[in-house]
Each structure stands twice: as structure tokens, then as C-alpha cells.
């Protein structure tokens, strides 16, 4: 099991216990910290880098996207997570030697579609957080020897819009806010929400805690999201994932839950969603 997490800052990257960093590029990435190409080159010398290109692109962004993909190859980046099909199209057209990882958040829910992308030149997938551990195991079993990323910790992105929903609300009713992160409350649950130049993004009301399932995803990259998590607590979580075993997994599970004052859940790991509610 290798541990992958977003790089919050370049200051302490050498001390990180993560195996690999998830790194965004300014104006091509949403939800994760972004860096300039010159910095990405430096980060890549410290640890393995997974670039995340997960914005929905418009035509006017395509030239910049092409330039960025060419630069990534030039500076020796190997792995690139992508959302928009423009990325796979451009990489193929330009013949770039980048290992593309299909990362369409909520769409990566079965092994055959992942294999479709592998057959089309990709090297793996970032598996959806909205499926059960049994489904994840089914994917791992049927997608062999490829890069699979499984999310087991942190707040999860659950909504993305090009609209600036908080700005719109404030404008409509002549209101002000000061924080970069606001919160939506409903039925006793609190959802972080961000409104920025890329649109509006909402996150789960709880922190995913899937440490008990470490063994089932042992040959994959495990993603640990640090969004809204303090560096101190995040480092502790990373160390627990580094040393988790069958003897301590329950203890670590409870410890993580206590660290975040009970605001952790196992997400959809054991919860099947439904979609037909009428007979």
C-alpha cells in the first residue's frame, strides 16, 4: 500500500510520510492545492507526483492545457489524473509519454469502464468514493497490475458547479461573508462549501475513515485527503496508515474518530445506494 495525499505547501514536503503527492496546476485543477510548473519540477525531485487535472475545460483553456501537458512531460512527470476527455485526446494526439489515470470522481464505479480506459492507453483509475468496499474489491480483482487509487480518508468532494452560488446568494440579498470556506447546515449536518473563481464546490459533512479496510486495497495507492485537516492531525493519520495492521486497525479506527470529535464515518464502504424508489 502506498499513501498518496495532496501537497498543501512546499515548506514541509521533505518531512512528509506520504509516498506520493497529489499536485494541481493553477487554473487547470479544482478541489486541490495548485502549483506553478517550476515548483512542480522541484516537488517531483522530492517524491513521486500525481498531477491532477480535474477541471471541466472550455475551448479557451485548451491551449494552456496543451502547453501544460507538454511541460509535464518535459519535466519528467509520469502520472496525470484527468477528468475532462480533452486530456486523453490531447495526450494521444501529441503522443505524450504521460501515464493517464482516469479520475472522473463519481463515474469510476466499475471495472469494465476502467479497463476500457486502460485499453485506450491509460494506466489506471482513481476509484469513486460512492461505492462499497465489495465493489472496490471487485474492481481491484478485475483490473490487474494497474495503478488504482482508493480514497480512505478525508472530506470528499460531492458537488461541483460553474455557478458562483454563494456570491449569487449574497448579491441577491445584499449579504457579505468573510471566510474562504463557508458551511451549509441541514438536518444537524454541516457541509463545507467553497465559492471561488472556478465555481462552487461542496464537500461531505464528515471525514471518511476507512482505515479498517487497508488490507483489501493493499496493492493500491490509498488516498488521504487533507482538506480542512490540520497538519498535525493529518501527519498522525498518515503515520497510522503507515503502520496499520490487523492487530491495531480497530484501535486506529477509534483513535481517528476521537481525533475528529466523532465526525468520521465509513462513507459508502458498507452503505449501498438505491436508485429505484417507486414500485
Amino acid at each position: 500500500m502506498k499513501l498518496l495525499g495532496p501537497l498543501k505547501s512546499m515548506n514541509n514536503m521533505k518531512k512528509s510520510n506520504l509516498d506520493s503527492f497529489l499536485v494541481g496546476i493553477e487554473d487547470l485543477t479544482v478541489n486541490y492545492p495548485s502549483y506553478k510548473m517550476i515548483d512542480i519540477k522541484k516537488i517531483n525531485k522530492v517524491k513521486e507526483v500525481f498531477i491532477v487535472l480535474n477541471k471541466n475545460y472550455h475551448n479557451h483553456e485548451l491551449d494552456y492545457l496543451k502547453e501544460a501537458l507538454i511541460s509535464l512531460e518535459e519535466i519528467g512527470i509520469k502520472k496525470v489524473l484527468f477528468y475532462d476527455m480533452a486530456v486523453i485526446g490531447i495526450v494521444k494526439e501529441l503522443g505524450l509519454k504521460l501515464e493517464l489515470i482516469w479520475a472522473q470522481e463519481h463515474f469510476t464505479t466499475n471495472y469494465q469502464t476502467i479497463n476500457h480506459f486502460i485499453n485506450n492507453g491509460c494506466s489506471g483509475a482513481f476509484i469513486s468514493s460512492e461505492i462499497t468496499i465489495n465493489e472496490i474489491e471487485g474492481i481491484i480483482k478485475n483490473v490487474k497490475d494497474k495503478t488504482l487509487i482508493v480514497n480512505l480518508f478525508g472530506y470528499m468532494p460531492i458537488f461541483a458547479s460553474e455557478r458562483n452560488l454563494i456570491s449569487n446568494y449574497k448579491k441577491e440579498f445584499n449579504l457579505t461573508t468573510n471566510s474562504k470556506v463557508n458551511y451549509l447546515k441541514k438536518d444537524g449536518l454541516t457541509y463545507p462549501i467553497i465559492d471561488n473563481k472556478y465555481g462552487t464546490f461542496v464537500y461531505s459533512s464528515y471525514i471518511l475513515n476507512g482505515i479498517k479496510e487497508y488490507k483489501k486495497v493493499n496493492n493500491s495507492y490509498v488516498f488521504l485527503n487533507n482538506f480542512l485537516i490540520s497538519d498535525k492531525l493529518y501527519d498522525e493519520v498518515v503515520l497510522m496508515f503507515k503502520s496499520v495492521n490487523e492487530d491495531n486497525k480497530d484501535e486506529y479506527f477509534n483513535k481517528i474518530n476521537n481525533m475528529f470529535e466523532g465526525n468520521t464515518k465509513t462513507g459508502f464502504l458498507y452503505l449501498e445506494t438505491v436508485f429505484k424508489v417507486k414500485k
Binding site: 475551448n59 463519481h106 466499475n110 458537488f159 458547479s161 460553474e162 455557478r163 463557508n182 452503505l271 438505491v274
Partner: protein, 393 residues
């Protein structure tokens, strides 16, 4: 000028026939499996055969949505289903999952349209989807006019855009609010429309409170003021949202856009466009806007009235028979003698004042107050079975 397509939704056979009769060139429907409206009535294979037969006899087309996000368990039976759709001569499938595209392309003769669920917005994405064997792309709702033009100029592929109906608040497919708040899977047809719920918005632990609560909800889409421009731009197909909508909604929206499209294609000016717009505005009883096409997605495109909207009572009844100057009507909403109404249909447009009305036993009534009650009244102008009656707008 090339022919353009008016594409309507239908949740069942009755609505499909209304869509076709009122002027749709093509209708999109869902089967019992693999579609994103799991809670609509939907179509069995036998229903689909009847729909296809009805449509093809009238030189229209039927598209079937196969646009869920597949889970491992959904893979079983998928290829057989696609082959079945092919064998009954479905004109195209609407798909977002690339594995379904691959299967359909390699094992069937089905035409493949990329669903709006894929949020395709740019030239390179369109080129890539074309390379997989897709013949048409239903663009993401975030596409602006100039972007659509650029795609048309650079990629030889048919484009379809939504012109009317409800909008997702987020990028299609990138919203799993429903999964997280209700455990209903939005990307497999279970969307619980969380975007229409009210939320409390907090900043630094303080409630940020306007006159209305925070909501994700946007106004509906209406391209009634831009449809002519969209035709001139070169868009192939114009899609109306709403497989769960009523026959009245489908008939009204289809017939209004049909009139506008035909007038433009034939070079005629419509002298009643304001009236048509008013009819459209009333049919959903929600505010609408052209939104991303014209680059407007600010607060004026948001809808803050939550679920306050109520169904209006415009739709009064369905003509079930017309003989010897007597209309037989199945009631849908309250009406009474002296009300001003319109009976409209594919070949009908009659304004009238309701005369004396009678029940099925020819007993005179003061009002028609019971849903589905059979009502009769005299009318000189000929109307047809299946025509609809609404209040005069």
C-alpha cells in the same frame, strides 16, 4: 439550410404519442434499466417496439437513454440489452459511460449519442468522443454560444443542446448530493433533487440569512428568445427536458417550439410570439432564463422560491370524442360555463366560451369539478380526439 430536429421527452407511450403528434421530430425515452430516470414509468421492450413503430410510421425517431454510471453488478446483461435495442431498431442510444459506447460500437449498429451527463464542453473532448464512434454530442449545459460555434467549425459531429426545462445546479455527473444526503444514487437515476432543498448558510459560525434561504436551485432553461439564433449557428438537435412531465407540458412546449422553428425555417415572422412565450412561461409555473448560452449564470439565473411553486390549473381536459357538434371531454381541472378556454391540438386551435355542460348521463352541471369526470358540451368548431383544453391565455 439543413433540417433541424426538435427532440422531446416521454415517460410512457401516451406522452410519446403526444410528443409526436404535437410536432417532435424525435423522442427520447428510457427503458426499465440503465436510464437516469429510474422513477419514471419508462418503457418495456414491448412498449419500445410500439413506440418505434408509431414513430417510424410517421417518419420520426426514437432514442433510448442508456446513460447511467455503471456499477459492477450493472455489467451483467448490458450487452444483451444493447443488442435488443439494436434488434428492435432504436434510432440511437444516449450514453455517457465510455464502456457502453465501446460495446455498442463494436457489437451493434446503434447510433451513439453522448449524453449531457458527460459534460462535454470543448473541441478536444468532442473530437475524442467522435473517435470512439459517437455521431452526436449532447453538450453540457455550461456551453456558451461562441463555444458551440467553435465546436461546429472544428469538429464534424452533430450537436444537440437543451432548449427548455429544468437545469442541474452543478456539472452533470459531478453532483452526488443525493447520494450523500439520501443514499439515492444520482448517477444511476435516483436523484432526489437536493438542489431544490433549503439550507442554512454559515460564515464564521454566523448565519448568513437573506429574505429567502440558501438553495442551489437555478431557474429553468428557456431558449425561446434564442432558438432562431441557435438554428442559424448550426446546432442539429434541440432538446426539451422532462421525461417525468405531463402530456400537457409536453404537448404545450413541443407545439410552441415547433411553431417557432418552422416559422424561422420557412422565413416567416411570427406575429404571436409574445403569446407563445406567455403560454410557455405558465406551463411549468417556474421562472426561466437562457443561462449559460448567453453567459448569464449570476443571481438572476438562481431560483430562491424553493418548492413554493404550485401547479397551476391551466390544463382543463382532454378531448376523448367529437361527434354531431358535441365535445366529450375528460376533465383534468375545474372549469365551468362562461370560462374562456382554448382547445388546441396538432391541427386544432379553437378559442371558445364554455357553454352549458353535462355529465355522461346528460345531466346539466354547474361546474366540472371531478378529476377524470366525463363532460359534454356543444361546439360548432371541429376538434379532434386527443386535443387538449386549457384556460385562454
Amino acid at each position: 439550410m439543413k433540417k433541424v430536429e426538435l427532440l422531446a421527452p416521454a415517460g410512457d407511450l401516451e406522452r410519446l404519442k403526444y410528443a409526436i403528434n404535437y410536432g417532435a421530430d424525435a423522442v427520447y425515452i428510457g427503458g426499465y434499466k440503465y436510464g437516469l430516470r429510474a422513477n419514471a414509468t419508462n418503457f418495456s421492450i414491448d412498449n419500445m417496439k410500439e413506440a418505434i413503430s408509431y414513430a417510424h410510421e410517421r417518419n420520426r425517431k426514437i432514442y433510448v437513454t442508456v446513460n447511467i454510471t455503471l456499477h459492477n453488478d450493472d455489467l451483467t446483461g448490458l450487452l444483451e440489452y444493447l443488442k435488443e435495442l439494436d434488434s428492435i431498431k432504436v434510432d440511437a442510444i444516449i450514453v455517457s459511460d465510455p464502456y457502453i459506447i465501446e460495446l455498442a460500437h463494436n457489437h451493434t449498429n446503434l447510433e451513439i449519442h453522448v449524453s449531457t451527463q458527460a459534460s462535454t464542453l470543448n473541441i478536444e473532448s468532442c473530437k475524442y468522443m467522435k473517435s470512439l464512434g459517437c455521431s452526436r454530442i449532447v453538450l453540457g449545459r455550461e456551453a456558451r454560444r461562441e463555444e458551440i460555434k467553435e465546436i461546429i467549425d472544428n469538429v464534424d459531429i452533430e450537436l444537440e443542446t437543451f432548449i427548455h426545462g429544468a437545469m442541474c445546479a452543478g456539472y452533470s455527473g459531478r453532483c452526488v448530493l443525493s447520494n450523500h444526503l439520501t443514499a439515492r444514487d444520482a448517477n444511476r437515476g435516483g436523484c432526489a433533487q437536493i438542489c431544490r432543498w433549503d439550507f442554512d448558510l454559515y460564515d464564521d459560525n454566523k448565519l448568513v440569512e437573506g429574505d429567502k434561504p440558501f438553495t442551489f436551485c437555478s431557474k429553468d432553461l428557456s431558449m425561446v428568445d434564442h432558438i432562431e439564433d441557435m438554428i442559424d449557428l448550426g446546432i442539429t438537435s434541440f432538446k426539451i427536458e422532462g421525461r417525468m412531465r405531463s402530456i400537457y407540458y409536453i404537448a404545450t412546449v413541443v407545439s410552441v417550439y415547433r411553431k417557432i422553428i418552422d416559422a424561422h425555417l420557412n422565413g416567416h415572422d411570427l406575429n404571436n410570439k409574445q403569446e407563445l412565450k406567455l403560454i410557455l412561461n405558465r406551463v411549468a409555473n417556474r421562472d426561466s432564463a437562457p443561462q449559460f448560452y448567453v453567459g448569464n449564470y449570476d443571481n438572476n439565473s438562481q431560483y430562491y422560491n424553493g418548492r413554493e411553486e404550485v401547479s397551476n390549473q391551466d390544463f382543463l381536459g382532454v378531448v376523448v370524442d367529437y361527434k354531431n357538434n358535441i365535445v366529450t371531454m375528460e376533465q383534468r381541472n375545474y372549469f365551468k360555463p362562461a370560462d374562456k378556454v382554448t382547445i388546441f391540438g396538432p391541427n386544432t386551435s379553437v378559442d371558445l366560451v364554455i357553454p352549458d355542460i353535462y355529465n355522461i348521463d346528460m345531466e346539466q352541471l354547474e361546474v366540472a369539478r371531478h378529476p377524470r369526470e366525463i363532460i359534454k358540451f356543444k361546439l360548432e368548431d371541429k376538434v379532434n380526439k386527443g386535443d387538449l383544453m386549457r384556460i385562454k391565455i
